[in-house]
Symmetry: D2
């Protein structure tokens, strides 16, 4: 069975993760890397026996490549995604789809029209803990979902300008969690209220961004989800999900990096949380690639598709508007197929 | 040292708790109980060697009584509190102060003018777990407070009409937690957004009440508090506080009723939460009375005073308005001394 | 209903606990305290409106007293217990019964012959956590018991000579836990191996005592119990029970003094264990007295009787012999009724 | 850099684990598999592009192989190990070294005389949790070690005859944990008492084996280690280490297979333990191979050497003798270099 040939756009942090996982996958191989920074692009390509291109158009002339991972900055996702769609490649695109609703919609429409397999990088759906909660909630174990509470606090954050290029906190971080909430609630989002501010670094404000936010999302079913986001903690990466239903509550608990405890003085001092999101979620990128490879090969479903990405993006855009207007915003329902 | 003589208004559930605690306190004794339901009033009075009165005015002619606990329905708090103030009694009033802002303000103003000691029943400030978190947060251990998350979910709820008489969820339950949030954040509340609904019992809607709510409170400091409330759980009484600051996070964790675990099959099955709020918080009523007795005797501070009650009430009234208007509401700042 | 009149022998630490609990109990009152240290005896007696006696014989002429709590040093338990038996009083005796097997047997035989109610102070049977485990184990929830592991490590220990007077670690501490093991295993003890030593204070060795021990107890059923004892920890009082059966494992978990957690740096720092055994087990003394009062009043069973004390004592004596002989010792079965 | 060529003896469960890990390792490759069961030997060899041999002597004529993993039955370890030593191969041998003290000593002496790198498969030393405890204990964080408690209970056990071939519980399971105890205590073992029995399957008794055991090991330092072993649980694989020292206690806690909790009724139901030892310890085999590859390549130390294996074996043989004689047995100190 021949390995699926991959192209990769973007040789930054997350691009390097994808490159390594493609290289390790028994049914995938990395053929080229596109990055306009020659140094890092070529280094990554060479490490995996792949070619480096500065230009995506040049790379896309390489016929054997069936699938492309888009791991470039959010503000160029649209351009890259549309090019890949035109070239007929299967796509695994990092979230968010784009840095605005219209651009994201253009991507979704193009991919739908072309009929290419297009996945959005909602890797947290592949986390074994989150997924176990999802399976049990959707199977009805706790009855109808009434409220959800999701925490995501980063241990360290990008500087304001880089964070802005990535889409801003309510888009870049947020889309992961709006998606998880929808996925677990099993109902469509209708309205969001976002209260945010710059509590520790005013630099984000210059880009219309926040470093801290508390959001409330209302679903069609009446269920309510709350989100607590921060750009930095003093204790590592912090993620937790709590789903409260009529017949019980399920938690995907905070994870500890090790199971070690010290009893000393008046305390029990346990090894704490993972240093960062990658230490916590590295296995989910492998699992996500695995599902994507199977989808490309066998035509099966991806873990999350562009419509899922579009739904989360619509929530993000409403959340951003809510911060500006300081009131709840109705979410544009533009992700469903007409 | 003579015991302080107490009067008690209200022989319902919480009235009986106060009566028992007064009877057990080495420096307090119960002299009368007022309740217009003769049967329950007289039964409670007799159990503690006290007199029963149908009328508060009659009871207040009894000079030796120095202090009165008001444990009647919220909708008659104002009447009872004003009578006690006029009679010059020290007051420990169950929360909320009243079922509306003006009525609560009248109580606060009258008590201030008369100079009587007046405590509000925010017993959770006396919980040893919450208090330890408070002490450590206020001492600066986690730096400036950025966000708080408070969960309070009742294991069983009053029927809609009784719940309405008690003030409704956002007043009766809510005031406890708005107060805890303010107390820990160390900043005044300025705006609240409350998303609520009847997710399991539409009966509450007839009284303008909700059974489920998610609230976001903004403080002067910029800190944000979120609250998750429900009128029933499938797993006992659920309360938890999380305070996130620049230098760490402190939690007052969910409590378990017992420290027992069963390892069986693919699970570890631990003894769960307390059956109800009383099982969880019984000791706080004893501690609250102890502080109040000391305040009456020695003129020291009460654990929480009517101004604290007024602040929480102002938040509650804004929260109720927010549910109606479906937008954030600015909190009337009427609790501070002019 | 008249309160039961109590006498108390011993005004030391544990004597003061009993005095306070008797004073607080609605159906008990303290009539006299015997202690040959006039200062502490009289102080304790006066605090509860009781009389002080230097001599037990004098005190026992006081007819209204129905029940006596023996809280003197272990080395005078026999003398005190036999006097109380002769006077026909109901007895609640602190453990161990005596500091040797013959003396303990003499106590048991005398109490049996006289037919007086005689309880041994195995208060841990009244701990709600331990008791829940016991109830579930005995109900068959985990099937036949195969192994038990019991930890008891004191946060601070008596000096060697005082510890010796109290019976030594394997008697004074040990009897509590041999009893719990028997109680939960539901089988009689047959052989014990005790490996002990002075790992931090050679002073205990001068009295034939140890500061650290690991014991293995074999039951008639074949079940095995291990015990880990220490005279001091660097982290408060440490007690834990684990019962492993054919169909599951039940734990009475380590308790924490408060439910507070701090997330900071690479750790989660939780509030630790209770400062000492009393902070952990204070409620069990109240519960034990309650059962004893009911037994005296109504003739019901005590929580643990002298035969239970005798069984644990027989294990203790064998354990002490095992340390000397460095091999397992068969336990003299002298606690059963012939 | 050329990969190190490996041979593998034994295509059973653990042999397949080693084969897969060698195949995945970037600096190792599998050249042959020896197993006298042609079907399973050839299948495993083919899966990794290796050759199959029925005879070890034939295989050892293959010069490029530098290192051999011995994963055959314990009762043929000696024969296989001596052959590999004679052939000058580096060796990674599964524990225990042999099924008797003399045979194990012969292996150790031969390997020492030949000067080949020889590792024993004490993979638990590579567990990140255990290792973190080890590092902190050895760095002095809890002061001198006074007691250790180690639990290892298998979720399912081999049938009596197969278990006997593997060495019996006190050898096959035991050597892992005697080694961990020594490793953490930092002191040599001097005496052991083992109380064991067949509590659920008398079939083991026919082979002089037990299904349940409680052991007490005394170290030169005076420290005491207790072990609780069982051949089956009703709740998955159960392993836990507790190290108690003068200045604190460190635990390598029981691990859970997932971080999911359900709050329902009067319980909190958490996802439990791993199904078996392999699910819990799979990563340690990878880590162990990594250390071994580096040792073969660079001449560095192995994670545990044959002398470590010999020490644990000496403890095992004394433990087996202790069960027979029902008394503590002095451990033959034959692992140190003369």
């Amino acid at each position: 069975m021949n390995a699926i040939q991959f192209g990769l756009i973007g040789a930054g942090t997350i691009g390097r993760v994808h490159a390594q996982n493609i290289a390790n996958h028994p049914q995938a191989s990395l053929r080229w890397v596109v990055d306009n920074d020659r140094s890092r692009g070529e280094t990554l390509a060479m490490a995996h026996g792949a070619a480096w291109f500065a230009s995506l158009d040049d790379a896309l002339t390489d016929k054997p490549v069936q699938a492309v991972v888009i791991a470039s900055s959010t503000n160029v996702h649209e351009e890259h995604l549309l090019s890949c769609v035109r070239a007929g490649k299967a796509i695994l695109c990092e979230k968010p789809i784009a840095d605005g609703l219209d651009r994201a919609k253009a991507c979704l429409d193009a991919a739908r029209a072309a009929g290419v397999a297009a996945a959005i990088g909602f890797n947290r759906r592949l986390d074994v803990h989150h997924r176990a909660v999802y399976d049990r909630v959707r199977s009805g174990e706790i009855g109808p979902v009434e409220t959800l509470h999701i925490v995501s606090r980063s241990s360290r954050s990008a500087a304001p300008e880089a964070a802005h290029r990535a889409g801003g906190m309510l888009r870049e971080k947020g889309t992961h969690f709006y998606d998880l909430a929808f996925w677990m609630a099993g109902s469509e989002p209708v309205e969001i209220y976002a209260a945010g501010g710059c509590l520790f670094d005013q630099g984000y404000a210059a880009f219309g961004d926040v470093d801290t936010a508390a959001l409330t999302l209302r679903f069609e079913s009446g269920a309510l989800a709350t989100f607590s986001f921060s750009r930095r903690t003093a204790y590592g990466y912090d993620e937790m999900i709590e789903v409260f239903g009529a017949q019980g509550m399920l938690q995907s608990k905070r994870q500890r990096q090790r199971g070690v405890a010290l009893y000393k003085g008046s305390n029990v001092i346990e090894d704490g949380m993972h240093a960062g999101w990658y230490e916590r979620f590295a296995p989910t990128y492998v699992a996500q690639l695995d599902v994507f490879v199977a989808a490309v090969r066998d035509g099966g479903p991806v873990a999350a598709d562009l419509a899922d990405g579009m739904r989360a993006q619509a929530v993000a855009e409403a959340a951003i508007e809510s911060v500006v207007q300081r009131k709840p915003i109705v979410i544009a329902n533009i992700w469903r197929k007409q």
